[in-house]
């Protein structure tokens, strides 16, 4: 059945999509914001480590349903596995209104100037599709500011000499260090480094009519019981709804973007919550499904002019899948270094994000979110007992005495690290699922070794009596920080969209999510995805009246 035509369909109510929907709605466009998941309801989710978005053992509280949404993972030796959100390298983020921004750790990083110009600064990297962004930090700066003020960020850059310039402070003061944070801060200072409080999309004081954070032991992987964590579900999406111009249609799975014979998007085909098929016509379509699902949807949207999927005539859709290799070190202390003041991560430094000798890029280092008991069972120095009385003793003697300094390494984009669709494996709705394959660039592992060594130095200086490194950076990329699969660029032959997130050859089809990112920085990506949401949304709103976007 056909639905009433609207100006814009936005697919995915996460970080990028929620913001675009709001930008369009407040500027008078009629919008349907589609989300395959539901509105998150705090009380539906027990405070349960085994069903948390961080440790998805028995289920993913914020979606997607693990029975209905398989994916395929291809190993280095070519073996294919069907995986689910609770088993085997799925790379889940979330599926609900707000998506990852409901349950994220909420670190609120701006990328640095350098992150937008890696190729210019470091030169080409063999075996990598490394490229400069078609936009600069300066282009995005006002939109970072908008994200910080509208969504809500606590922080202070003053003591971070590597921070990119900003016109306006973050709206809320930073969080205080917990005990571990203070110890790491002091050690980093003694080493001549430049530690400072982690910026957070979390209220340090009352903001936006919602309360301040109560420093729960943990919130990474959970929704906030007092609603002090800021995502799109409790900020921009409600604003969009208030305009009366936006409808959020939940539990609707978009199956396909319909592209007509003239190469314009006509609207979308989708299944509603009763699995009934519909067509929703629209003047423009914005895809914000997250890097993996966005690529999958584009690839599943085949048409006469784009037989290999929307915008994929040059085979770049789904390529350059990046995430973040997490890397760092652990240290054991002979006193309780963790006071479990939540959610844990409080102090960071950007000394190693750029200009490291012989390296391309780098990554931030920070202390880590508090670990809940099951997660901690896997944290042991190499060679330790994995079970038995010694394992148990370590658990109760060291739970508060283990510190971790860790960070996301900037991955080198790799052409063969990619999302394709698997025509032999279908989801609940009969749609070919995303297939993840390829592996990280070899440089990532080298960079991880460098950053882990730095982390270990800090822990030693902090007084750890025993330290060990955990080095990441090999194998398949993706994960919660998935990015890069529909990257921006000026050349239609080596990118998917232009600098405004507009498809090179489909004027009224836009992307606004992590897929846009040319590279993923050495920082958690959410604030940059939000800034990109404002950037793309603002461009559409400003240019909508020009007829070129209209199908009719």
């Amino acid at each position: 059945m056909n639905k009433k035509r609207v100006n814009a369909v936005v697919i995915g109510a996460g970080a990028g999509g929620g913001i675009v929907a709001k930008e369009l709605a407040v500027n008078g466009l009629s919008v349907v914001l589609f989300e395959r998941g539901k509105w998150p309801v705090y009380d539906e989710h027990p405070n349960d480590e085994l069903i948390s978005q961080r440790t998805e053992v028995l289920g993913s509280p914020f979606g997607p349903d693990h029975e209905k949404n398989p994916r395929v993972v291809v190993e280095a030796d070519g073996r294919r596995h069907i995986v689910t959100p609770i088993a085997g390298g799925y790379s889940n983020n979330a599926a609900c209104v707000g998506s990852g921004t409901v349950s994220y750790g909420a670190m609120a990083w701006r990328f640095m100037k350098e992150d937008f110009q890696l190729k210019t600064i470091y030169g080409p990297v063999e075996g990598s599709t490394l490229e400069d962004w078609p936009i600069t930090y300066d282009d995005l700066e006002p939109f970072y500011e908008k994200a910080e003020w509208e969504i809500g960020v606590s922080g202070d850059d003053a003591s971070n000499p590597f921070a990119p310039h900003r016109r306006k402070k973050q709206p809320m003061p930073p969080f205080e260090y917990n005990h571990e944070g203070t110890v790491i801060y002091n050690a980093a200072k003694r080493l001549g480094l430049h530690p400072f409080p982690i910026p957070m999309l979390r209220n340090s004081v009352r903001y936006n009519q919602r309360p301040a954070c109560i420093r729960n032991r943990m919130c990474c992987g959970f929704a906030c019981p007092v609603d002090a964590k800021n995502g799109t579900q409790n900020t921009v999406i409600p604003i969009a709804l208030k305009t009366g111009n936006c409808e959020v249609r939940t539990q609707c799975m978009i199956a396909e973007i319909v592209i007509n014979e003239k190469g314009k998007a006509e609207g979308v085909n989708y299944f509603d919550e009763k699995n009934k098929g519909h067509f929703q016509p629209a003047d423009i379509v914005v895809v914000s499904g997250g890097a993996i699902e966005t690529a999958r949807l584009l690839l599943n949207s085949k048409s006469k002019l784009f037989p290999r999927g929307a915008g994929n005539n040059y085979d770049w859709v789904g390529r350059n899948l990046q995430g973040h290799a997490y890397t760092g070190a652990f240290g054991l202390f002979d006193y309780d270094i963790l006071d479990l003041t939540g959610p844990g991560a409080t102090v960071a430094l950007c000394d190693f994000n750029h200009h490291n000798p012989g390296m391309v890029g780098g990554g931030l280092l920070a202390n880590e979110f508090n670990r809940l008991p099951y997660l901690y069972t896997n944290i042991r120095p190499p060679g330790s007992a994995r079970w038995g009385i010694d394992h148990k003793k370590f658990q109760y003697e060291m739970y508060r005495r283990t510190s971790q300094v860790v960070g996301p390494i900037q991955e080198m984009p790799a052409f063969d690290s990619r999302v394709t669709v698997d025509d032999n494996v279908k989801d609940f709705w009969g749609l070919p699922v995303a297939r993840l394959s390829g592996s990280r660039h070899p440089l990532d592992y080298e960079n991880c070794r460098f950053l882990s060594a730095k982390a270990e130095e800090i822990l030693k200086e902090a007084g750890a009596y025993h330290t060990w490194q955990s080095v990441g950076g090999r194998g398949l990329s993706g994960g919660q920080h998935q990015a890069g699969t529909a990257r921006m660029g000026n050349d239609k032959k080596t990118s998917v969209v232009n600098r405004f997130g507009q498809m090179h050859e489909i004027d009224n089809l836009f992307i606004a999510d992590g897929s846009l990112m040319v590279n993923n920085g050495g920082f958690n990506p959410a604030l940059t995805i939000m800034a990109l949401g404002y950037w793309v949304g603002g461009y559409i709103a400003n240019n909508f009246s020009s007829t070129k976007f209209r199908t009719g």
Binding site: E49, R217, K392, Y396
Partner: protein
């Protein structure tokens, strides 16, 4: 009913249920497992007890780890059923060859030895199509940790035993320390 708090209600119904247990018709013990046979369960109980042994704090048996595993195998982890069935069978075969006993009937020191051999992948002759004892061991290890350290609502960690051991209170996310020792 209005005057009762939820907790009172649970307490009251507990007394009723306790009373019922005294009736002669209920003396026969019902099969308490959904997936395991009693003998299989005894094997997994013994195995998980050595993964998380009782010391000054309760161990896997006290915490009801078996109920977590049994329940999850009949629901979320249904795809691991075959591995458990064949894993237990081949583990018992190995114990019989080496000691002429079931795993659960071995002295602790011998149990630990068998477990070390399993973990190290030294019992390859007991492989079965699509499985082997070292990956079975790792699976039981993982499930035992989940059961003991996860939330009691899934069947293990009875009375929040492991949280008490770690001196963290419930609910985990919002709690502050309650067990001051």
């Amino acid at each position: 009913m209005d005057k009762f708090s939820r907790r009172d209600f649970i307490k009251t119904s507990g007394i009723v249920a306790g009373g019922l247990l005294l009736l002669p018709c209920c003396r026969y013990t019902e099969q308490p497992y959904r997936f395991f046979s009693p003998e299989e369960a005894d094997c997994i109980i013994a195995l998980s007890e050595q993964i998380i042994p009782h010391d000054k704090y309760p161990g896997a048996t006290d915490a009801g780890v078996i109920y977590y595993i049994d329940r999850q195998l009949s629901s979320v982890f249904h795809y691991d059923q075959q591995t458990y069935r064949l894993g237990i069978e081949s583990m018992q075969l190995a114990c019989n060859d080496m000691h002429k006993k079931l795993f659960q009937d071995l002295p602790v020191s011998a149990q630990i030895m068998v477990m070390e051999e399993m973990e190290a992948g030294n019992l390859n002759k007991y492989n079965w199509p699509g499985g082997n004892l070292s990956s079975f061991f790792n699976l039981v290890l993982k499930h035992t940790m989940q059961a003991f350290y996860g939330s009691p609502i899934h069947g293990g960690n009875k009375d929040y035993m492991s949280f008490e051991m770690l001196q963290i209170d419930y609910p985990l996310v919002i709690g502050q320390n309650r067990y001051n020792s």
